[in-house]
Symmetry: C2
Subunit: 294 residues, 2 copies
């Protein structure tokens, strides 16, 4: 049996990355924060926090903090269904891929918060093929992922396909493809890649023109920078359709090959144990996905 | 003396995160890639790549890859000044804070690329108080940072102040501050925090209303999500002025306290050894900063 006051203290330290901020949040002194943490570390026989700026959790520290937050969510649901009062917000950790965060999921979070004003969201951003591993490790309660099969103890809801279009600025096309958009031209001209995990440009290029050499590429690990980079003519790249609709309509971006999108299936996966506590969020996410995904 | 063919192979493996993609880029077989890497690992007596999906560099592997890229930049400058031909693009690694990437730096990169079309940018996104450590570790050639004093061997150019405004949607203000924007109201209502390193909201709140308890917060580690979250009424937050000008003008966002911004001084720091090779970029960054920063 854990001491949940100690666990809440650990969770606050890791959320703020600092003992002083945790002390302010909990309304206790910094030395009380240190004492509670030390007591918990003695209890488990392992360090739970790496001291630094910011402080970060050891693997076990992170697991215990998540556990405390999940118990908070469950208490909150218990209080609601049993008609009890419960003070304090409910914190939901979600792993989501950068493009979903940029392109469609925020209205779902705003919807869920309107229905349940005590919800607070901690978002973890990772590639869609890696977000499921956060769920598997018990680090998050739910994840938007490209992996269909859910980890043990989790449910998977298909959300639809996030559509990507290969686009560039008209100026980029005029400069690099004076004789038309050919595979040769695209393998010589600069493209954009989100990060080394991002294979979308190569997948599309190989599918459309046959396998070949990767083009020279910039690395722009931010959806906004990726989008702005296309507008500014830094390179071409696969952009999520919901983000570039206005740019296509206004001619600020042009598709390299019209009607040749790349679709990425996405799933909402939820820890089955926590599913009732975040049912309102699951409902909002599924509803919003229907508006933006194919 | 290193074998630069081996170093270029290491650099390609780490850039793509995969042996097969590195082989395609270099136009050699995958087994030739493995052999070159093994020869280099034998030479230094340490593993340089952690095999996985994606492959990542060990600390030494990353240092060697950066060294190879810097030598490439220097060769390129030598070729240009000596009137020699040099094949292949020049790759510049830059550490930049997420807000600068979202708010103002991309036009500088596009400018520099227009002047030097063979430039390719690898951007590393980190907090402005941590970006200097990438430079200190030799991982990047230049950095946008909030630290004035440059690391040894680097020069520092003041860029001006990135101005942050505390903003929320009109709907959020009506809901959470019915009796006006007071410190009490702001400490009870949900705010947004970029990640645990982000102290901007607390700094502004403490400065404006005196030290106190941190408000309940969402964590939205993406500048676009942070901005969209404010528009959707998830919470209030400190947003960079260049990003929200249109929203303020259209009344989609309102300042919580007009004329009470928080200014963050930024510096462009460059490895002195590499400064001549990226002079065109430094010039574009300084020029663009003058347009967007105070």
């Amino acid at each position: 049996m854990f001491d949940y006051t100690q666990l809440a203290t650990l969770s606050a330290i890791l959320r703020h990355g600092a003992f002083d901020a945790a002390a302010v949040e909990l309304g206790i002194t910094q030395s009380a924060v240190s004492q509670r943490l030390r007591a918990l570390e003695d209890r488990v026989g392992q360090p739970l926090v790496q001291r630094g700026t910011p402080c970060t959790g050891t693997a076990l520290g992170q697991r215990l903090a998540r556990h405390a937050e999940e118990v908070g969510l469950m208490e909150s649901r218990l209080a609601a269904t049993a008609g009890l009062d419960r003070a304090g917000p409910r914190r939901v950790r979600i792993a989501v891929n950068a493009d979903s965060l940029a392109a469609w999921i925020l209205p779902a979070l705003a919807d869920a918060q309107a229905a349940a004003p005590d919800l607070l969201f901690d978002l973890i951003v990772d590639d869609e093929s890696h977000s499921a591993s956060w769920l598997r490790a018990g680090e998050v309660t739910a994840a938007v992922t490209s992996t269909e099969a859910p980890p043990t103890g989790c449910d998977s809801h298909p959300l639809g396909q996030l559509r990507y279009l290969a686009v560039a600025s008209p100026d980029w096309v005029a400069r690099h493809c004076p004789d038309g958009v050919t595979g040769d031209a695209l393998r010589r001209a600069p493209c954009m890649t989100f990060d080394p995990k991002d294979r979308l440009q190569m997948r599309w290029l190989d599918r459309e023109f046959g396998p070949g050499k990767p083009p020279p590429t910039h690395f722009l690990p931010s959806p906004r920078a990726f989008h702005d980079g296309a507008l500014l003519g830094l390179g071409w790249g696969m952009n999520p359709e919901p983000l570039i609709r206005d740019d296509l309509a206004a001619g600020r971006l042009v598709p390299l090959r019209p009607d040749r999108p790349l679709d990425q299936a996405l799933y909402w996966q939820v820890s089955r144990r926590m599913a009732p506590a975040i049912a309102v969020l699951t409902q909002s996410v599924r509803k919003t996905a229907r508006l933006h995904l194919h």
